[in-house]
Point group: C2
């Protein structure tokens, strides 16, 4: 599958690496194509990955992953050109600058706001509830970490659930896009435990089923 | 330890059963002391448990567990008499009547509201993020389910963390009481997955540390 990833920061790079290893082609949409960090990432991934403008990346793929900081997201989406009909995976969290909490979006989630900005696109929320280190690798965990996916459209959501499994997660359909409000709160809890409670980034949640 | 439990519904009964088995004495605060369901519960637990008014239960214990439905909580607390100096464990979630979401408490959590109702008490949030069946037993899970505990006062919180371990959970200090906002959202996510996503009540979250 061709996958556009907007942003090659820690989340975008981690997902790109994982998916390249499961035979997907990665099109990073970036602003600075000459950045040394980006060149190193592309060298590491090899021929499965390339970098280009957001518009070219989005045009190359059916699935567009939003791995930008929240504050840069609107501009990144605006630079993509038409997104109607595409599956958008929103990995953002609307964090305050000091990471102390989520911005007040009037009760709405970032994902719902993105859906309003991109009419005709199929927006799913995923890859926002755990840290980038857990996307890069799940080695050392006794169970596959859970990845909750929310979205209103069944076929695009099925694609996202499959991509979550390809990235090593236990994928769970969390319901419609409005549930992103709870997924963003869940992300804030992870971030709070990691940063404020001193747990660091090497912990992850598993969703266990009872074996009766 | 003497533990008062306000309410002998599914959560109160499950916690009372577990703690009685770890040598705590359980004082159920109830409205109808003659209810057949309560008598059966007391017969089952044996001499470690008894039932009485909320006021007598609260007077008998240093730890008071709030296991009432959210709508009955204010009245239950008012009927307890003085609570200053006691450790209150808030297990409630401010659910809408149809369980479709949380009531709007103006951004505040139920736990913070309870703390304002009970000046001088040490309020901790715990036992709200998973179902009563998971409090009754964790048999059949590969790892101990996590129990997140929030509270502002270290010594009372340490007691609650120990009680969470006594009830079979992996206890985690989630930080100050304000984090209850995230714990109540986390509860709503569990309830949503259980009821709306058809997952039932036999699933639980584990917090895994990476083994490097």
């Amino acid at each position: 599958m061709d996958i556009a990833i907007l942003g090659a920061g820690s989340v975008g790079a981690a997902l790109g690496r994982r998916w390249a290893r499961t035979n997907h082609r990665i099109h990073f949409g970036v602003r600075d194509i000459e950045s040394p960090r980006l060149r190193a990432l592309l060298d590491e991934i090899g021929p499965a990955a390339s970098a280009m403008t957001n518009a070219r990346a989005a045009a190359s793929a059916q699935v567009v992953v939003i791995a930008t900081p929240w504050r840069a997201t609107r501009e990144a989406l605006d630079s993509c050109g038409p997104l109607a009909g595409k599956t958008l995976i929103d990995c953002t969290n609307p964090l305050k600058a000091d990471l102390s909490g989520l911005e007040d979006l009037g009760g709405e989630s970032a994902a719902e706001r993105i859906a309003r900005w991109t009419p005709g696109a199929f927006v799913c929320k995923a890859f926002n509830t755990t840290g980038a280190a857990n996307m890069a690798s799940q080695e050392g965990y006794p169970l596959a970490p859970v990845m909750l996916v929310a979205g209103d459209d069944p076929a695009p959501k099925a694609t996202v659930l499959r991509l979550a499994a390809d990235a090593g997660f236990d994928p769970i359909d969390a319901g419609p896009l409005v549930v992103s409000r709870l997924l963003e709160a869940s992300a804030m809890l992870w971030i709070h435990l990691a940063l404020r409670q001193g747990m660091g980034s090497d912990f992850a949640l598993a969703l266990m089923r009872r074996n009766k």
